[in-house]
Symmetry: C2
Subunit: 259 residues, 2 copies
């Protein structure tokens, strides 16, 4: 008889991704496990990028940085391989998104450093447990709030906007404030013009419709911000997760919660 | 008539330090302003050190990193100069503390990067406001809890131990938990043997006496940890604040508090 092995849901999903049986969005998968944005870049740029993230911690909570050349995120998912276990990768050269790939095995180099950066997707479970819906009426938007640069990395803050009722905003503020290492409380509520939120051009999908009556938009710093800054830096090579195809870790989202 | 200028208490104290009229401990000075540990090292080691701090964030909350060659902490104290505004510096060469200095003007180099790391001293005001005494019965101790290494930086966790009553431990836990970016809640309470705390050899001062009846020792991750790791790395040059001579910033400690 073979010993039975119990896989975490996160491990089971990653195995499906590695086998290329799952290639779609990570949203809704392995609910309750932390998902991270991914930025993989040459070591020559790693200090400036880590510094950029440190200077803009609200948007860029760095949850793990691998050793140069190692594709194994030993803290967050020790059985994973970052070359194969993200459902879709976006490959940037000189700041342009040149192609998407299902794996990056043949692009791997010994000087690549991988950054795993907290994604707002991780706290969806906590919000839903508190009665705040998360699966629709949310957008990723550019703003005109400058971030603090480091080396070649710079750009404006990217936010996640959610349409909520006033009561939901109050609840969502309390829930997300308990996650100081995963974007924390909203950076703004109400008028999008005050932060220069670009409703006409969300990063994904069609323009944002007019705000319905009874809705108070709420805005959180978004983990797409560092990816945007990395694009602006026009590195010779930058590998990121494709939008909405985050990397799924073995860390329970509740582990990021503070009292 | 000259215009009158109102200085912050932190700015006034730094001016006294720069003029070398204050050369003693920073403990108790500019109460309520964040104080930081200081680690200044060549850029060649900066990525590994920043990564070490990121991997051991509880002990090493990096509050600011200056651009290489710049001695100005533009975020935390824009009128300060890190070459003159710490009351005493410890100079390490190849891991040995070779000398202490009142300024480091003639040691400055264009490739030096300064790390300002949160110090537990900063939250003394919040603890005292909650009725927890902070000015005595505290020690800085080595433990046998390993930190996560990065490059040449490694070593065991250093903790601050405070002698408190049970009621004070409960209060202090709640108060410090509100400072997730400044060491946060205790990492342990009670038996020092469980974390291998070295009571016989505190980093400063005589051995710790036996625990009095009615006292519950409580332990917080300490910002001396990264300095200890930097010493272990035996860098050709490392400049740190001398123990208990932290750098005083203009940031109110309450600004580090989360809800």
């Amino acid at each position: 008889m073979r010993p039975s092995v119990t896989l975490l849901e996160s491990q089971r999903i990653r195995a499906e991704i590695r086998a290329k049986r799952i290639t779609g969005t990570s949203r809704g998968l392995a609910h309750g496990f932390v998902q991270t944005n991914l930025a993989i870049l040459p070591k020559a740029y790693a200090f400036d990028f880590l510094l950029y993230c440190n200077r803009n911690q609200r948007a860029c909570p760095v949850l793990e940085v691998t050793d140069p050349g190692s594709p194994i995120p030993t803290r967050l998912a020790p059985t994973a391989d970052l070359r194969t276990d993200c459902a879709k990768y976006a490959i940037y050269r000189d700041g342009r998104r040149e192609e998407d790939r299902l794996d990056i095995v043949d692009l791997w180099r010994d000087d690549l450093v991988s950054f795993l950066i907290g994604s707002g997707i991780s706290i969806d479970a906590a919000l839903e447990a508190a009665g705040v819906p998360t699966h629709k009426d949310r957008w990723v938007l550019r703003t005109t709030i400058p971030t603090e640069p480091a080396g070649p990395f710079q750009g404006d803050l990217v936010v996640t906007m959610r349409w909520l009722t006033a009561a939901q905003v109050i609840t969502a503020t309390q829930v997300t404030a308990r996650f100081p290492f995963n974007h924390g409380a909203p950076i703004h509520i109400g008028d999008p013009a005050e932060i220069g939120a670009d409703l006409a051009h969300p990063l994904f999908g069609p323009p944002v419709p007019p705000t319905p009556a009874g809705i108070v938009p709420a805005y959180w710093a978004c983990g797409v911000t560092p990816q945007s800054a990395a694009e602006n830096a026009r590195l010779p090579l930058l590998i990121a997760h494709a939008p909405a195809h985050s990397f799924i870790t073995d860390l329970p989202a509740s582990a990021l919660s503070s009292p």
